[in-house]
Amino acid sequence: MLLLIQYTLIFASVLVLVALGGCFSEHSGVINIGLEGIMVIGALGGALMMKYLPGGTAAPIVILLVILASVLIGMIFSLLLGVAAIKFNADQTLIGTALNLLGPAIAVVLVRAINTAESVDNVSSTVAYGHAKKAFIVNIGKFEFNWFMLIALLVLAASYIILYKTKFGLRLCACGEHPQAADSVGINVYKMRYAGVIISGALGGLGGLVYITAGVSEWKFENGVAGFGFLALAVMIFGQWRPVNIGLAALLFGLFRALSNVYTGFDALVALKLPSTVYNMLPYIISLVVLVFVSKKSRAPKAEGIPYDKGQR
């Protein structure tokens, strides 16, 4: 049971971070389908940082540097979307898809190049970071507390405050609802949209890092992040683009994702004799069902996905 709670919380942390990233981007008016790719790249940055940090580094510094690496790389990568979508009016879905393909491709090529350079026979795309990962974990009895759980909670609270209680957040939302109106009162729509995309890159990158450190101590980058970026988008829609609801939705989705890891520990579930594949499918099936119920009354930002054209009325 404790294990289930632990996994639920850590997967929910991933989903919360990435979904909030999507939330910021969409509130500014840019659809970010590329979160999956951003997650992979962020994870890559974090993993490489963990790999190359010397063994004796103090835990707080490890945490800080690794997070910084993921966040920064995520931000830079998200600029690919920002520049294309905001400056060049490119189709946001197409660019997002390109990011999703680019992310894993860059990660695999880079990791393999590093591995092959270390030894010619090593053609795997795996990065091991066992020792550095320990910095993130504090054992409280049998419960493995991960600092990321706290960070996710803090980000959630901060997002709520930023989106609803600050000038910046309200302006950001205005740009996603009616950019022409926002522009007419002197808000720089382009700047706001860049801000939204870059925040989503930072949170997406961080989410990727959390995902690869959840449970395992090495990551094979050929696998990407198994559709988690899209699950996060489903969480965002289920949460109706509101931080608090996103938090609750993430817990629900995290629970179903955690079940596939730990269902063998529950006699009742084992007695059902379902193949493990069913549990793997569960988060995706649930999200489809959930989307059916919540999409009809969608509260999506009205101007999302539409390139801002100053001349348009």
Partner: protein
């Protein structure tokens, strides 16, 4: 003398011509970025590696081997063409079918299960692949039409659901000792697509079947349906403006569902012609959706979302993907081609902007020319 530049200009202004230039630019820049990445990894063999990617089957010195692998590339390209048609068809109706990958997987499951478990002939297997994949596509369409579910997200969810279910299904027809499905050639020969003599053209490459021809015919059919029929016009109108289409008496919900069903069917067709050629066996422990569907997106946009353009772009994408396997593996990895095609998709997003810029540039030049002409006249 005056006529000539004018003629050249009308060509430059031609939208189709602009698209071709845009796509070629995407390819060149994409390859250039790939080359730079290779240079960064290992400057020594970068030139050789990029040539290996571009040469693909020409890597083999003997003509027989080269023809044979040309055939293999064609077989893969034909499946890719179907996936790209699937993406393209939906795109023309304003839908983004990122689910081509999942529909393709479902098609694989349907045709291999029919062929291996029930011993059915190839046309039944192919039909099963098309129908089941069309149903899966239709689910996304129906969710979009009736519940306003974003088709991109529902497609991705269905991709994963499809992958896991197909793994589960095909585990029943796998070989005892390996994670691969039984080979069609030894289990059920009737499920293999007929060669119709095409294999002899490609140095007896038995995988070259009528599938290659069928895929090109399908490309033409898709073009005719989209451009020359009332049905295609209605679908495109629905894509442009759902409400206007509804106002004009079109059944917009039906159109959305039908579009996704056709898109799904096309992807399923691709799965059928690829796996029923016996070229590959399905690995039932796969943890990621095959890249075919995603490369289909690259091919669709590189081809300027035109079915005939897709024929060429699919071949090109497959050519460099296959070419990636010939790079020097002590220095580089085969995924470098994936990186290049991903960059190409990214660059395709800029084609529209490129066209706008080109038109504006031409306008300015015309204005200048006109002004000059006026001045000349006055003087």
């Amino acid at each position: 003398m005056r006529k000539e530049p004018k003629k050249k200009e009308s060509l430059l202004r031609n939208s189709g011509f602009q698209t071709i230039i845009g796509s070629l630019l995407c390819i060149i820049i994409g390859l250039l970025i790939g080359y730079i990445v290779l240079l960064i990894i290992n400057p020594g063999g970068a030139g050789k590696a990029i040539i290996a990617i571009l040469k693909n089957f020409l890597y083999y010195p003997s003509a027989t081997a080269a023809t044979k692998y040309f055939g293999t590339t064609l077989v893969k390209a034909s499946a890719l063409l179907m996936c790209s048609l699937s993406v393209l068809f939906a795109w023309k109706v304003g839908l983004f079918n990122i689910g081509a990958a999942g529909q393709y997987v479902i098609g694989v499951g349907a045709c291999l299960y029919c062929g291996l478990k029930f011993g059915l002939p190839w046309y039944v297997c192919l039909a099963a692949a098309i129908i089941i994949a069309a149903i899966v596509g239709g689910i996304s369409g129906a969710l979009k039409a009736y519940f306003n579910v974003n088709e991109v997200i529902s497609c991705i969810m269905l991709n994963w659901i499809g992958l896991y279910s197909v793994n589960m299904l095909l585990a029943k027809v796998k070989e005892q000792s390996t994670p691969y499905t039984k080979p069609l050639a030894s289990t059920n020969k009737s499920a293999l697509l007929p060669n119709m003599g095409l294999d002899t053209l490609f140095a007896n490459n038995e995988f070259v079947t009528i599938g290659v021809i069928l895929s090109i015919i399908m490309a033409i059919v898709v073009w005719v349906v989209l451009e020359k029929t009332k049905f295609g016009y209605e679908l495109k109108a629905t894509g442009m403006n759902k409400n206007a289409a509804k106002y004009c008496g079109m059944r917009e919900k039906r159109n959305i569902i039908l579009t996704m069903m056709i898109a799904g069917g096309l992807a399923g067709f691709g799965a059928g012609i690829f796996y029923l050629s016996g070229i590959e066996q399905w690995m039932v422990q796969q943890t990621s959706v095959p890249a075919m569907g995603f490369n289909g997106i690259a091919a669709a946009f590189l081809g300027g979302s035109n079915p005939i353009g897709a024929v060429f772009s699919s071949y090109f994408i497959q050519h460099i993907t296959s070419g990636g396997t010939y790079v020097d593996k002590t220095m580089y990895c085969t995924q470098i081609s994936d990186l290049i095609s991903a960059f190409i998709i990214y660059l395709c997003g800029f084609v529209l902007f490129f066209k706008m810029w080109l038109n504006r540039y031409l306008d300015k030049r015309d204005e200048k020319l006109a002004a000059k002409g006026q001045k000349g006249g006055e003087a």
